[in-house]
């Protein structure tokens, strides 16, 4: 049981860590790339809101993923 939990924690932690980094990269892309903003129909006034949301999501995911990965060490 403990071994299963270890494996699941490691997978979930890894996924969260990856999603967190992706989210932060996405926040930078939203800021830097007009084509991505157009594709997502993000207006000029909404840019900083999206950056904020992606950053918060990314930081929280990395924090949660780190805690899960650290538990297994």
């Amino acid at each position: 049981m403990a071994k299963t939990r270890t494996v699941v924690s490691r997978i979930a932690g890894g996924i969260q860590y990856g999603l967190g980094i992706l989210s932060l990269v996405f926040a930078v892309l939203v800021y830097a790339s007009p084509s991505i903003r157009n594709a997502l129909a993000i207006t000029h006034g909404e840019v900083y809101l999206y950056i904020f949301l992606f950053s918060v999501f990314g930081i929280l995911s990395i924090l949660s993923g780190s805690l899960l990965l650290r538990e297994e060490k």
Binding site: R5, V8, S9, A12, G13, I15, Q16, L19, Y31, F57, L60, L63, S64, G65, L67, L68, E71
Partner: protein
């Protein structure tokens, strides 16, 4: 004590230059115009007034720095006198302010380079964020190399900067001979002078970098008070001389709409050369501020890690260079990331608020330590105590009241982030896991709701079907992954 591992390598000249270089930022090159429109030629009085207000608090820095010469500046003073959340909040604001100040200065430098390249019509495209990030990278390396190297770089930059400002002042003074003395007038009355003082006060901020690096200053009992007083007097003299020459050359009304008032004034008596002189001086001022701020932020992070508020890794010292290289590096990454956005307004507001809050806590620390630890060895004592620290507190509170509402809002947000960081370090690990688990389940529920809306609502009809399916799959994946992670956090074994 960990800070004895930092080498005491900075003498009086290097320390004073660090204070002067920290204070004379690019701001003085652009803020004079608006301040002149508020106070008229009485801006000269406003500048002297600001210098005296700055001196009240700097006297507190001198006494505390000489008595407690450990790394961390304001944070260390607040730690010795209050401890707990107050000392953490002081260190937090100091750390954040210095990082934002470094970002602000590097972006300012990039704009000045761009302005100079355009003026000279050179076919070199200047990218503001890349130039700002490269500037941060160069000074990060200098700061990792050693305090002596940082001090030398700073001394060189400030001497060149003062030379350029000296050329401007002397040339302007000689060119305006025969025009009679400057007649002091304040179109906005005394209130206008006060408003101009609140606006222009930022040009004096940054000199307290001396206190942050005090663990690396030789003979701190004597050097710190002398360097701080020297910095204050040099700043008052420099700014007053510049303002005098400005008003000898042009009337205040001419400056209000100028992007670079000093460059405009220099052009009046030096021709196109004047624009070059002021642009180079502004660039050097920005560079010296980047250098000082990177050093200051790293020493605060180092001190916060020493006392367990920041991760222990920030307390690492480089084996060969004896510098807190991890603290320099991590802070510089944040500075570079902020500089890369090129958002100047936000960082200016955050910087002002943090520095002024730091002023209040330093004065409070002085009063508290005089009461609680009267026997503490004080190589320098504030004259006319308790008048200067009380005046320092009152004037700092008044300055906060005069700040823009957005500055207060950003300051409050930064304080909330600081509170979160403080409690993350201070509360038990299992409680953090519970909180993170709860947030994970919240995100999971939100993603599930989003997936449901995507498949059932008419909102999705405007999107192509494959895009809708992609969003739906991502939302379901996130919902499941975060639900599992949340449950793992909540059911974690209590230790």
């Amino acid at each position: 004590m960990g800070e004895t591992r930092l080498k005491r390598e900075l003498g009086l000249l290097q320390t004073a230059m660090m204070g002067i270089g920290g204070a004379i930022c690019a701001g003085v090159f652009v803020t004079l115009g608006y301040a002149a429109s508020l106070a008229g030629t009485a801006l000269i009085i406003a500048l002297v007034l600001c210098g005296i207000i700055n001196l009240f608090t700097m006297l507190s820095y001198a006494e505390l720095g000489a008595a407690i010469p450990s790394a961390g500046g304001e944070y260390t003073f607040a730690k010795a006198s209050f401890g707990g959340l107050i000392s953490f909040a002081t260190g937090w604001f100091e750390w954040i302010s210095n990082m934002f100040y470094a970002a602000f200065s590097s972006v300012g430098f990039a704009y000045l380079v761009s302005y100079a390249v355009q003026a000279t019509k050179l076919p070199i495209p200047i990218n503001i964020p890349i130039t700002a990030v490269m500037t941060v990278a160069v000074f990060t390396l200098i700061n990792i190399k050693g305090a002596k190297e940082t001090g030398r770089a700073e001394t060189l930059l400030v001497i060149v900067l003062l030379a350029f400002l000296g050329i401007f002042t002397l040339w302007g003074f000689l060119a305006s001979q025969g025009t009679g003395p400057v007649e002091l007038s304040a179109p906005g009355g005394f209130l206008g002078v006060l408003r101009a003082s609140a606006f222009i006060f930022v040009v004096y901020l940054g000199g307290e970098a001396i206190a942050v690096a005090q663990a690396e200053i030789k003979n701190p009992g004597k050097t710190i008070p002398r360097a701080i007083l020297l910095t204050c007097l040099a700043l008052i003299f420099t700014y007053t001389a510049i303002a005098y020459v400005v008003f000898k050359t042009v009337p205040p009304a001419d400056l209000a709409d100028k992007e670079s008032p000093l460059a405009y004034v220099a052009e009046q008596f030096m021709g196109p050369l004047g624009i070059g002189v002021i642009t180079v001086a502004g660039s050097i001022a920005a560079l010296s501020s980047v250098n000082t701020s990177i050093m200051a932020q790293s020493r605060v992070a180092y001190a916060l890690a020493r006392d367990g508020y920041f991760p222990r890794i920030f307390f690492s010292i480089h084996k060969h260079f004896s510098t807190p290289h991890i603290a320099v590096l991590v802070g510089s990454i944040f500075v570079a990331a902020t500089a890369a956005t090129g958002v100047v307004n936000f960082v200016t507001y955050a910087t002002d608020f943090g520095f002024i809050v730091g002023f209040i806590f330093v004065n409070l620390s002085l009063i508290r330590l005089r009461r609680e630890r009267p026997a503490l060895h004080r190589p320098f004592q504030v004259p006319l105590y308790p008048l200067p620290p009380i005046l320092g507190i009152v004037t700092s509170v008044l300055l906060i009241l005069f700040l823009e509402p957005s500055t207060l809002l950003i300051g409050t947000e930064l304080f909330i982030f600081g509170l979160i960081a403080y409690y993350l370090r201070m509360i038990e690990h299992c409680k953090i896991c519970l909180a993170v688990g709860g947030m994970n389940i919240g995100i999971s529920a939100f993603s599930a709701l989003l997936a449901h809306i995507l498949m059932s609502s008419s909102a999705a009809t405007s999107m192509p079907q494959d895009i809708t399916l992609l969003f739906f799959s991502v939302a379901v994946f996130i919902s499941v992954a975060y639900l599992v992670a949340g449950l793992l956090h909540i059911t974690r074994e209590r230790r």
